[in-house]
Amino acid sequence: MKVIGVHTDRCTGCKTCELYCGAERGSEGKTLLKAVQETPSPQPRVRVEGSRDAAFPLQCRHCLQAPCLDACLTGALGRDEASGMVIIREDRCIGCWTCTAFCPYGVISPSPEQKIAIKCDRCLHREEPTCVDVCPTGALALVEIEAIDDLAREKRRTAAAAATAAGNGGMVILDLGR
C-alpha cells in the first residue's frame, strides 16, 4: 500500500501543495489561475499547519483502523480494496459530517456548498498525487507503507553518524529496529 509520506525536515511551509491540490481536486478549471476565479472557492484536500519553526502538510493518513469508517452513517466512506485507501463515495454522503468529528487528524472537511464531506483520496486517478508532484522541496513523497520503517531507520542511522562526527559522545541514539 502506497501512502503520502512527509519529510518534515524538508517542508518549508510554502503551501504549494495546498494551492495546486485545490486547483486539481477542487476546481472545474483544473488550473490555478482558473480555480481562483471559481465560486464557491475550491477546497484543497491538504492543509499545511505549523509555526515559524516547523511546518507540516496534513492530509488523510488512510488509517489502518480508521475511526471515520465506523462513524460514517451511510457507508459513503469505505476502503478501496485495490489501493487500501479510505475513499468517499460522494453520491452516498449526506453531509452529516460525523466523520469530521471522528477524524483524529482533522483532515476531513465539510463542504457546505456541496453538502458533502471532502478528503484526500491520494489522487487515485493519477500516477502521482498532485501534492507530491508539485512539492518544490520533495518534502512529500509517495512511499510504500512498508518502506517507512526503513526510511526511519536510515534517518536514525544518519543522525547517529552525524552526532558521533560532531563529537557528541554522550549522546546515544538507539536503533531499535522494528
Binding site: C14, L19, Q37
Partner: protein
Amino acid sequence: METIHFKTVDPVSQELLRGASRRGVELNWERYEKQQPQDGFLRLGLSCPYGCMQGPCRIDPYGRGAQRGICGLDRDAMAAAFLLRLTLQGLWEGLDLSGSPRRGIEIAWPAPLEKAAAAAQSTIGGAPLAAADIGESAALLSRPSADPETLVRQAIRLGLLAIGSAKRGKSAATLGYRVGYGLLAKEAVTIAVAGRIPETLAKALLKAAAGRKNPKVRLVSLGDWLPAGKSFLPIVCTSGEAETVVASGRIDLLLAGPGCDPGLATLAASLNIPVLKGEQASAEEELFAQARRAFDRRDPGSFAPDAALVGTGSAALGSAEVQAGLKSASSSKIALLGGSDTLFQSLGHLPVELAKALIGEGHAIASWGDAALWMAKQEIPATTLAPQDGPLAAVASLAATGSLTSLTGICFTGLNACRDLTLALGLAALGLKVAVAVPLPLWGSAAVRTALGTILAATGGSLTHYDHPAQGEELLAWFVRA
C-alpha cells in the same frame, strides 16, 4: 501539470536540444521544468510586494487561510501593488539614463500621439505626467496606504510615462539584419555576444575580426539586437535559444555584456568556453587568442548547420522608414505582433502561426523583438520594427498618416522583461487594443482586473490577458473581432 508543450518549432533547435540532452548538458528548459510549478501566490499576485520586515505575507486564494497580511493589507491592494511594482521596474528598465540617474528624464510625445496622450492623462486623472511620478510610485510602494484603484491608476500612468520618455528613432534609420543557424555554417572561430555591448565596441570587434584569416573569425549575437554600423550584428538565434546554441559546440568564446543571463555564462564556463565580460573585450588580442585556443579544442564532429538557414531583413527604426514599411503593406488591416521568447510557450510557435493566420485573414504584419526574428527565420513577410519600442513607432507612424483605424491590434506574444509589460500598459492607455499572450499576475484579484479594465476602457483602450498561455486561435479571434 498545466504546461505540457513542445519546446520549439525550429527543427534544428530540436535536434540541438536532443544532442544537449544526450550529453547531459542542462539548459534553460531543464531549469524551467525544475521551477514548475512556479510559486502560486506570486503567479496570482497574492504575495505581498511591499518590502517590509514583518513579512513575507501572502493571501490564501481559496479563502481558507490568511485573508490579510500582518499589516492588514487585503488581496486587492496586494495585487494592485504588485502590478505597480512590476510597471515601475519596467519603466526603470526602459529609461536611458546613460549611467547617470541624476540626469532625469525627458517627456516628449511623438507629435501625432500628443492629443491621445493628453486625453489619456486627463481621463486617468492626477497631475500632469512628470519624472516625479517615479518617486511617487516608489513612495506608494514604501508602505501600504493607497487603495487598489489608486495603485492601478498609477501603474497606468507609468505606462504612459514609459511611452512619453521613450527614445525616438535616429534619422539614419534602417539597419539590416541576418538571422539563423546558417550563420554558423562555415568553419570559423566564433565569438558570441550576449547582453548589451556598446556599438563602438561591436564595430571595433567586427573590424578586427574581418582582418583575420586562417581561420576566419566571426562575431554573432545570441538573440540581442546589437547595432554595429550599418547593420545589427548577425543574430544566430532568438533569445530563448541562446543556451541551445552555446551547447552546440560551435561557440568559441562568450562575450557577456550587461543584461546577459547568468545561466548563459555558467553554461559556457561549464563547457570550457571562455567567458569575458564586456569591458574585458578591449584587450582584443587576448580575446581572439582565447577564442582561437577554444576553436582548436573543438570537437570536429560538432554541429554543422546548413548555410541556407539564414533569414535577412531590415529593421525600420526612424519614423519615415516605419511609415514607408507600413505603407508598402498592401493590406488595409495591420496587426502588430512582437515580443520576447518565453518558455511558457513553444518557442516561435505563436508568432509564426499567428502571423500566417493573420496574413490569411488579409492583415499586414509588423513585428519586433524575438517574434520578428522568428518571422525572418520562417520567411514570413513582415515589416520589422525597432527591437524595443517598435510598436510605439508603428502607432506614431499610423497616427501621423491618419491610418490608425487600420490597426486591428497589438499583441505581445511573450514577455520577458517588465519593460514589455509597462509598454503594453502605456499603449492600452493611449486608447489602443493590446493583448498579452502570457498570464499576468492579476488573477488573485477580480477587483484589480476590473479596475484595470475600467480605467483603460475610459481611455478607449483595452489590455486583454489570459489565465493560461494564449493559443493562436484565441488571439486570431481577438484580432479578427476588431
